[in-house]
Symmetry: C3
Subunit: 306 residues, 3 copies
C-alpha cells in the first residue's frame, strides 16, 4: 500500500503514468464514472481549505465513489484530544482512502504510519501540498506538451511560498529547465533551495526584481502573491508593489504561447483584465486538479480501468 506525502514520492516514470491516466480521464470521463463504485474517500480537514477539499470530493464523485469527513478541526474529535494516529485507525474502518489537511507539519506522515488505507497529504502547514504540485505539472504538460526544455518564471514571494519551493523540487527532475526567479530582494528564494536544489542539480536560473523585465523570455509564468506584511518597510512596499501585479500591459510583453498559472486564490496580483487572455490558464488549472486527483485515487487504490 502506498501513500502520497511529497510530490517526490513518485519517480518521474510513475508520475508520467499518473499523468497519462489523468489525460485519459480528461478524454474519456465516462469510462471512469463507476471505477470507484462502493468506495469511500474520507476528507479529514483539520484546517479549512474549500478549494482543495471540493476538488478531492469532485474527483471521488466523478469516479462513482462516496465522500465523508469533516471540514474543520472544531467539529472533529481532535477537540477531544484524540491523536492523529488513533483517528486514522478509526477512519480506516470507515473509508477506503483518505485526504488529510493539517496545520502541523508531518501530521499526515504520522497518520500514514498507522493507517490501513492510503493517506494523501492535502497540505501540512508550510511543508508540503503534493496534489497542488502534481496539478501544476499536469497543467504544464497538458498545455505545453512537455515538461522539458522550458523557461519558467516564478513570481512573488519566493522566500516563504510553499507552492513554489515544491514546484522547483519537482521540475528539476526534467531536462533543460531554466528558472527566472522574480521577487523583491527580501523575498528571494532561500539558500537551501538555491544551493541545494538548483545549483546541486546544475539548473540554470536568474534572479530579477521586476516582472516586466522577465516577460519576454518566458515559456510560462507561475504567479503567487506578495503580501504587504512580508516587506521590511512601507517605503519598499510602495515602491515595488506594482512590479508584481500582472496586468494587460505586462502581458503585452510576453510571447503568444506564454502561459500564466496561479495556485489560487488570487487577490489582486493578477488583474481581472487578464482573465480573458487565452494565455491565462489558472482556471483551467483547477480542472486539471480534479483530473490528477482522480488519477491519484485510482493509482493508490490500485483500481484498473480497461
Amino acid at each position: 500500500m502506498r501513500h502520497l506525502m511529497s510530490p517526490l514520492d513518485f519517480s518521474v516514470g510513475e508520475l508520467n503514468e499518473i499523468m497519462n491516466l489523468a489525460n485519459d480521464i480528461e478524454a474519456h470521463p465516462d469510462k471512469y464514472a463507476h471505477a470507484c463504485d462502493g468506495k469511500k474517500l474520507a476528507t479529514l480537514f483539520y484546517e479549512p481549505s474549500t478549494r482543495t477539499r471540493l476538488s478531492f470530493e469532485a474527483a471521488m464523485m466523478n469516479l462513482g465513489g462516496n465522500v465523508l469527513g469533516f471540514s474543520s478541526a472544531d467539529s472533529s474529535s481532535a477537540a477531544k484530544g484524540e491523536s492523529v494516529s488513533d483517528t486514522i485507525r478509526i477512519v480506516s474502518c470507515y473509508s477506503d482512502i483518505c485526504a488529510m489537511r493539517h496545520p502541523k507539519e508531518g501530521a499526515p506522515m504520522v497518520a500514514a504510519a498507522k493507517s490501513s488505507i492510503p493517506v494523501i497529504n492535502a497540505g501540512d502547514g508550510g511543508h508540503q501540498h503534493p496534489t497542488q504540485t502534481l496539478t501544476d505539472l499536469l497543467t504544464i504538460r497538458s498545455l505545453k506538451g512537455r515538461l522539458e526544455n522550458l523557461t519558467i518564471g516564478l513570481c512573488g514571494d519566493l522566500k516563504f511560498g510553499r507552492t513554489v519551493h515544491s514546484l522547483i523540487n519537482a521540475l528539476v527532475r526534467y531536462e533543460n529547465i531554466k528558472f527566472v526567479l522574480i521577487s523583491p530582494d527580501e523575498l528571494r528564494i532561500p539558500d537551501y533551495i538555491r544551493e541545494d536544489v538548483l545549483e546541486a542539480n546544475h539548473v540554470d536560473y536568474v534572479q530579477v526584481e521586476r516582472l516586466e523585465d522577465a516577460m519576454a523570455d518566458l515559456d510560462l509564468l507561475y504567479m503567487t502573491r506578495v503580501q504587504k506584511e512580508r516587506f521590511f518597510n512601507e517605503e519598499d512596499y510602495v515602491r515595488m508593489k506594482d512590479f508584481y501585479i500582472l496586468d494587460k500591459n505586462k502581458m503585452d510583453l510576453a510571447g503568444p504561447d506564454m502561459l500564466v498559472l496561479h495556485p489560487l486564490p488570487r487577490v489582486n496580483e493578477i488583474s481581472v483584465e487578464v482573465d480573458d487572455d487565452p494565455r491565462a490558464v489558472y482556471f483551467k488549472q483547477a480542472q486539471y486538479g480534479v483530473y490528477i486527483r482522480m488519477a491519484l485515487i485510482l493509482t493508490l487504490l490500485e483500481v484498473k480501468v480497461c
Copy 2:
C-alpha cells in the same frame, strides 16, 4: 444556459411547466430517481441555512446526483479573500449546477455572470429567495388547484419581510388575486410594493390591523413572524402581540378550505395546537420545496425524462 436569480426570471408559462414537472415528480418519483446520475450540485452557503441547504441536497439526491459544498463562510475560501467571481469559476470545474446563499445582495448575480454552470440564488441578504417563492406557488397551486381567483391574507411583518414581497410580485401575474394585508401600522407593506406593484397592476387589497378581522374572508393565510424589536414602543407591542398569533380560536373563524402557509422556521406566531388542523399545510410546504427544487434542477440542467 439559464440561471435563477428572481422568481420573475421565468414567465408564467415557463413556471407552469416547471410546476407541472414538480407534480409529475410527486406522482412518479421513481421515474426521476436516476435522472441526474453522475451529476453534481455544489451548495455554496456563505451564510448558514440548514433547511434550504438540506432541501436542495435532498432534491439532487432524489434525482440520483451527488452533492458537495460548504455550509458557512468560515470554512470557505471567502475567508482568504477570494472573490465570488473567482470561486464560481473554480466551482464550475467541480460541479454541474450550483445553489448559492450569500449575505450580500447581488452576490449570486455576480457569480452567474462568470459561471459556466447554472447558478440558483438560494437567498441573497434581504433581496431575493426565489426557490421559497416557487415553493409557495407550487404549494398553493397543488392544494387549492389554482393560482387565480384567490383571496390571500399576508400576516406579520409586511414591511421588512422579503418572502412576502417576493410572493406578492409573483402572484400579481395571475388573474383576480385579492390581498388582505394584516400587520401593525408600523409594519405595513412599503409604498414601493403597494403603489408600484399592487396599484400599478390594479390588484385589490385591504389593510387590516387584526388577524381575527380577516380570517372569515380568506382562501389562504400566509403567516410570518412579527419580531418584538420591530415595534416602535413596548406599549404597542404588548397591546398588539396577540393579534398576530394564530391559534385554535382564530382558526375557528376561518372557512373549511382556508389553508395556512408559513415559510418556516416558526417561533410562536403559530400555536402548536394548530399543527394538527388539516388546513395547516406549512409542513407539506417543505415537501413541495423538495419537488420544486427537483423540477428546477432538471429544467436548468436541461435534463429530459420520458
Copy 3:
C-alpha cells in the same frame, strides 16, 4: 414504525437478530451494497461528534444510501430558535431515517414523537448513546462468541460514565454475568445502578480500587478515562492516577483470551504500547460500530435482503 432511543428498546431476542444481521453483513458485505439505494439518512448533530457521525455515514453509504445533515448546531436552524419538533417534521420530508445527537437529554425522544421517519438517538447529553452500547455488545459477542458467562471488568470513572451505565443495563439481561468494578472510591458506580440494576437482578459484582488487582480474573476489560478534575483532591489524584492506566505490565497479569475494549477516544488511559497486543480490540470495535449501524438502519427501515 420504530425508533431507537435506548439500548433496552429491543428485547434480547430482537437484539440477537440485529447482531446476526450485523455478522452476516460482516461476512457478505457485497450482498448489502445496494440495500438502501435511493434512500437518505439525515445526520442531525446539534453537538459535534466526528466518530459517531462518520460511523453512521459510512454505514449508510455501505448500504448504497445517501447522507445529508449538519455537524454542529451553529450551522443549523436551531440557531434561529426552531424547535426540535419542527425540525424533525421538515427533515422527514428530506430523508428516510435520521440519527440525532443533541446536548439536551430527551431531545431525540421529543423528535421521535413528531417524526414520520425512524429516529436513532446518537447520544443525548449524559443520558443515552444506544448505538455505542450495541457496538459493545456486538464486539463482545463476535469476539468472545457469547454474551453469557462472562466476568467483565469496568474500569475508570464509573460514577459519571454514561457508556458504562448503559453497558451494565444491557448486560444484566444475559445469564451469569459478573462485574468487577474498578475505580477510585469517589468515582464508584452510583447507588441507582448498584442497587436498582445489579442487586435487583441478582448480578454478582465486586468493587476494587486498583486495576492490577483485577486483571487475572477478567474475560474482558472495558476501559474508560478518569479525568483529573473528577478527583476530590490533588493528593488522591497523584497517588492513584497510575492505577487506571493500562500498560504492558498490567496486560501481563491477564489471561491470553482477555479482551480490552474502549469506547474511544482514548487519551492516555491505555498506553500505546498495548495497541499491538492481539487482546486489544478497541480499534476492531470501531469496525463493529459500522456493522451494527448498518444492521440497525436495515431493521428500522424494514429493508429485507435475501
